[in-house]
C-alpha cells in the first residue's frame, strides 16, 4: 500500500458524517462575502452599496496576479461594503448582501444533467476558470487558474487529484466523490486539458473504500485517469506528502509541485472546475461537513459562500450544550471560531464542534527530548528545537533550521507527550522569519 | 611625572634595566635560598633513611643498577661504629595507579626488611595513598623477602593488599622486590 515514508501520525478518524448524503442548505437571509477569501491579494469590489445583484453576478474582481473573482451567491441588495469580523474576529473588508428571492444571472446551466463534452480549448478553459473565480477547495484557496498557467521552462506531466481527506471528521470530499463521481472525472479531464497533461492520478485513502471502488470503475471510461488507494496516514493530504506517496518525487524546499512536474488539486476543486467550464457556474457554493461527537446530526451540507455559520449549526439541530470549541476545518489544521456569526468562505471544508472535555489542551510541560516530534514531522524538521527558538525569540536560528519548510500539519504537537504547543511557536517563528527575510 | 615616551631606545633600555635588576635580584635570592633548599632536600632524605634503618653514625652512598627498570637505585649503607647495620635503598616503580612511586627500603644485613618509607607518590588520596599508612607498611617489618613472597595475596603472595587499591599495593611490592633483588645481586653487603 502506498504512502509517504517520513513521519506522520494516525489520529482517530471519527468520520461521523461519512454516510450522510449531501444536503442542500437553504439560502440564508444575508450573506457576507469577504474580499480576501483566497490566497493572494484582496479582490476589488465592482458593485456599490444598495446595488441589486443576482446569483452568480460578478461582485468583485481579482485584479492582482494572485487573486480571484468573487460572485454573488445570492440575489438581493448590497447592504454595505465595509469591515466585518471574519471567522477569528479580525475586521476584514467584505460585501454584505441582503437576500431577496433567488434570481440567477443568465447563462448558468442549472440542470443536473451531466455535460460530458469538453468544448473549450486549453486557453479558454484557463480563462473560464479564472472568470468563474474557482480557487482550491482543499484548504489554502489558491486560485486554480494560476496553477494552470505553467511558466516558461516548466513541464508538468501529471495532475494529482487530492481525494485524501486525511483530516479526521471531515467527509465533504468523500461524499462528493461518491455522489458526483462522474462530474468529478469530467472536471479532472478539463484540468488535464487545461494543463496539457495526459495523466492524472486520484489519491484516496483506504478508509474510503467505497469511493475508491466507485471512481475506479468510472475512471475506466476516462483516458489517463488512474485511482490510487493510499494507506491512512496524516498528513497525506499535504501536497508534498501526496506527491511523494503517489509518484515518489520530493518537492525541494521552497519549491512548488510544478518544479517536479506535477500539479495538485483537490476533488472539490475539480468538481468546481466542471461546473465552471461545463455549466458556466461560478464558485458560489461548496460542500461543508458539519460534525462533531456531540452534534446531533452530523451532516454534509451544500452551502452558499457567505452563509453565516450559525445557519449551518442550526441545520444540525443546534449547538450542543457542552460545546467547548468550534473549529472551522478539521481538528488538525482548522482554526477556532470566535463566534458563529462569521460566514462560510471558499476554503471552509468543515465546521467541527468539540465537547468541552475534548477541547482543552493537556498541561504544558518542559520538553523531555523524547524525539517523538522529530520522528513524526513529515518535513524532517526538529520541532522541539524550533519551538525553543520561538520561545527564546531566536528567529535567525529558527530560519537556519528551515522552519519555513514547516507545513503546519500539527503532527508534532499532536504527538508531544509534554503537550508542548510546538506548532504555535513554529507559527510565531514563521511569521518572524518571514519578516526577517523580507527585510533583507 | 610625565610618562616616558615609547621610543625604541627607551623601550629597550627600560626592559634591559628591569630584566637586569630582576635577574640580579633573583640570583641573589637564589644564592640565599640555595643553602636552605639543599638542606631541606638533604633533611628529607636523611629523615627517610633514619626512618627505615636502625641507629647509625656514618653512611655511604652508591648507585646500583637493578636488573629490571631504567634507572639505577641509590644505596645508602649505614655503619654504627664502623659496623654495618643496614642499607637503605631508594627504589621506585612506575606501576603505581598514577605512575611513579618512590620508596626508601631499609634492609638489615641479613636481608630482612627493617622498615619502609614512602618518598614520593601521586596515588589517589584516600585510596592509593594508604600505602603510606602504618597499617599497610607494618606487615613488611621484619620480613625476609627470601621467604616472604612480595606479592599481593590475589597474585599468590603474602601481602594483604589495601582494599580497592590492589594496583598501588602491587606496585609497592614490586618496588620493594626491586630493591631486594638489587641488594642481593650487589652481594648483600659491603
Amino acid at each position: 500500500m502506498k504512502t509517504f515514508k517520513r513521519g506522520g501520525v494516525h489520529p482517530e478518524e471519527n468520520k461521523l458524517s461519512e454516510n450522510q448524503p449531501i444536503e442542500v442548505l437553504s439560502v440564508p437571509k444575508r450573506v457576507t462575502i469577504l474580499l480576501g477569501q483566497n490566497l493572494g491579494a484582496n479582490s476589488k469590489p465592482v458593485v456599490n452599496k444598495r446595488d441589486k445583484v443576482k446569483v452568480g453576478q460578478l461582485i468583485a474582481k481579482g485584479e492582482a496576479f494572485i487573486s480571484a473573482n468573487l460572485h454573488s451567491p445570492v440575489s438581493g441588495t448590497v447592504l454595505k461594503i465595509d469591515d466585518v469580523p471574519d471567522q477569528v474576529g479580525h475586521n476584514k473588508a467584505a460585501i454584505v448582501i441582503d437576500v431577496d428571492g433567488d434570481e440567477w444571472v443568465e447563462g448558468i446551466v442549472r440542470s443536473s444533467e451531466i455535460a460530458k463534452d469538453i468544448k473549450l480549448s486549453k486557453e479558454e478553459i484557463v480563462k473560464k476558470i479564472q472568470e468563474m473565480g474557482v480557487v482550491g477547495l482543499g484548504g489554502a484557496a489558491f486560485p486554480t487558474h494560476i496553477k494552470l498557467m505553467v511558466p516558461e521552462g516548466k513541464v508538468p506531466n501529471v495532475l494529482i487529484i487530492n481525494g485524501v481527506e486525511c483530516e479526521p471528521y471531515l467527509t465533504a470530499d468523500h461524499r462528493l466523490m461518491l455522489e458526483k463521481g462522474e462530474e468529478l472525472l469530467i472536471g479532472i479531464s478539463i484540468l488535464m486539458k487545461g494543463l496539457g497533461v495526459s495523466k492524472a492520478i486520484i489519491g484516496i485513502e483506504n478508509n474510503k473504500a467505497d469511493a475508491i471502488h466507485l471512481l475506479k470503475e468510472l475512471a475506466n471510461n476516462f483516458l489517463g485517469i488512474e485511482v490510487q488507494s493510499l494507506k491512512v496516514k496524516y498528513p497525506q493530504g499535504g501536497e508534498k506528502q501526496l506527491i511523494k506517496a503517489l509518484i515518489n518525487r520530493e518537492v525541494p524546499s521552497g519549491k512548488l509541485p510544478l518544479d517536479v512536474g506535477c500539479v495538485v488539486s483537490n476533488v472539490g476543486t475539480a468538481f468546481a472546475v466542471y461546473e465552471a467550464v461545463q455549466k458556466n457556474k461560478p464558485l458560489i457554493e461548496r460542500v461543508v461537513s458539519v460534525t462533531g461527537k456531540s452534534v446531533k446530526k452530523p451532516s454534509n451540507l451544500l452551502v452558499r459562500i457567505g452563509t453565516p455559520i450559525s445557519d449551518l449549526i442550526g441545520k444540525v439541530e443546534g449547538l450542543p450544550e457542552d460545546t467547548g470549541k468550534i473549529i472551522g476545518g478539521g481538528p488538525m489544521m482548522g482554526k477556532t471560531l470566535i463566534s458563529m456569526n462569521a460566514a462560510v468562505v471558499k476554503g471552509t471544508s468543515g465546521i467541527l464542534v468539540m465537547r468541552e472535555n475534548e477541547s482543552s489542551r493537556i498541561a504544558v510541560k518542559d520538553c523531555i527530548r523524547c524525539a517523538k516530534c522529530v520522528s513524526v514531522c513529515p518535513m524532517g524538521l526538529s520541532p522541539y528545537l524550533l519551538a525553543i527558538y520561538g520561545e527564546q525569540e531566536r528567529y535567525e536560528d529558527a530560519g537556519l533550521e528551515d522552519v519555513m519548510d514547516c507545513i503546519e500539519c500539527g503532527s508534532c504537537h499532536y504527538i508531544c507527550p509534554s503537550g508542548r504547543p510546538l506548532l504555535d511557536y513554529l507559527r510565531v517563528d514563521k511569521v518572524r522569519v518571514g519578516e526577517i527575510m523580507r527585510n533583507r | 611625572m610625565a610618562k616616558k615616551e615609547s621610543t625604541f631606545l627607551n623601550m629597550v633600555l627600560t626592559l634591559l634595566i628591569i630584566t637586569g635588576l630582576s635577574s640580579l635580584a633573583l640570583s641573589g635570592v637564589f644564592e640565599l635560598t640555595k643553602g636552605p633548599i639543599a638542606k631541606a632536600r638533604k633533611e628529607k632524605k636523611e629523615r627517610a633513611i633514619k626512618a627505615v634503618l636502625p641507629e647509625f653514625d656514618t653512611m655511604l652512598l652508591k648507585m646500583v643498577m637493578p636488573e629490571t627498570g631504567k634507572d639505577s637505585l641509590e644505596f645508602i649503607t649505614a655503619y654504627e661504629d664502623s659496623l654495618w647495620v643496614g642499607t637503605a635503598i631508594s627504589t621506585y616503580t612506575y606501576k603505581g595507579y598514577s605512575g611513579l612511586i618512590k620508596l626508601m627500603v631499609g634492609l638489615l644485613p641479613d636481608g630482612c626488611i627493617e622498615r619502609i618509607a614512602v618518598l614520593e607518590q601521586k596515588e589517589t588520596p584516600g585510596l592509593g595513598t594508604k600505602i603510606a599508612d602504618e597499617k599497610f607498611k607494618h606487615q613488611f617489618i621484619g620480613k625476609d623477602p627470601a621467604k616472604y613472597i612480595l606479592k599481593v595475596k590475589k597474585d599468590g603472595g603474602d601481602v594483604d593488599a589495601i582494599t580497592a587499591a590492589t594496583i598501588s599495593s602491587r606496585a609497592y611490592c614490586e618496588a620493594v622486590q626491586r630493591a631486594y633483588d638489587a641488594f642481593k645481586r650487589d652481594g648483600g653487603n659491603k
Binding site: 530560519g399 527575510m437 533583507r440 | -
Partner: protein, 140 residues
C-alpha cells in the same frame, strides 16, 4: 545577504570611508571575552582590528554606522589552516625528518622553527591571491 548557514559575522563600526572601500573596526575578543572582569583586566586581550570591505554597489556608508561584516565560515577554517595548521605540520614534519637523520635535537629544533620563515615568505608572495580569497562582505 540572505540567511546563510555558513556565514560567520561580526558586528563592527565603520571607522573610515574610502572611495571604494570602507574600513570597519571590530573588537576581537580574547579568551576572557565572557569574563565579567575584563574591565579590571584590560591587558592585551581586548583588541581592535580594522577590516577593509569593498562597498557594495549602490550603497553609501557613514563613519560611525553599525554594520555587520561577514565571511563564509569555510573561509574562517581556511584561514586557520593557512595561518596555523600548515605551519604546524611543517614544524612537525621537519622535526621528525631531522630527528630521523640526525640525533641533534638542537639543530633539528632550530631548523624546524627556522623553516617557518620560508613558509611565511611564500604566504607573503601569495599576498594578492589571499587578498582576493579572504574578501569580507558587508551586511545590511
Amino acid at each position: 545577504m540572505p540567511i546563510s548557514k555558513d556565514a560567520i559575522t561580526h558586528p563592527g563600526i565603520i571607522h573610515e570611508v574610502g572611495s571604494e572601500r570602507i574600513y570597519v573596526k571590530i573588537l576581537s575578543q580574547s579568551a576572557c571575552s565572557a569574563c565579567h572582569a575584563k574591565g579590571a583586566c584590560s591587558v592585551s586581550d581586548l583588541e581592535e582590528k580594522l577590516i577593509d570591505v569593498k562597498i557594495p554597489s549602490g550603497k553609501s556608508y557613514n563613519v560611525g554606522d553599525m554594520v555587520t561584516v561577514g565571511m563564509e565560515k569555510s573561509l574562517g577554517s581556511k584561514a586557520v589552516l593557512l595561518g596555523y595548521f600548515i605551519p604546524f605540520l611543517i614544524l612537525l614534519f621537519v622535526l621528525i625528518t631531522m630527528l630521523a637523520i640526525s640525533d641533534n635535537e638542537l639543530l633539528s629544533g632550530m631548523l624546524a622553527i627556522g623553516l617557518l620563515i620560508p613558509y611565511y615568505l611564500i604566504l607573503y608572495l601569495l599576498k594578492d591571491k589571499l587578498q582576493k580569497t579572504f574578501e569580507f562582505r558587508i551586511k545590511e
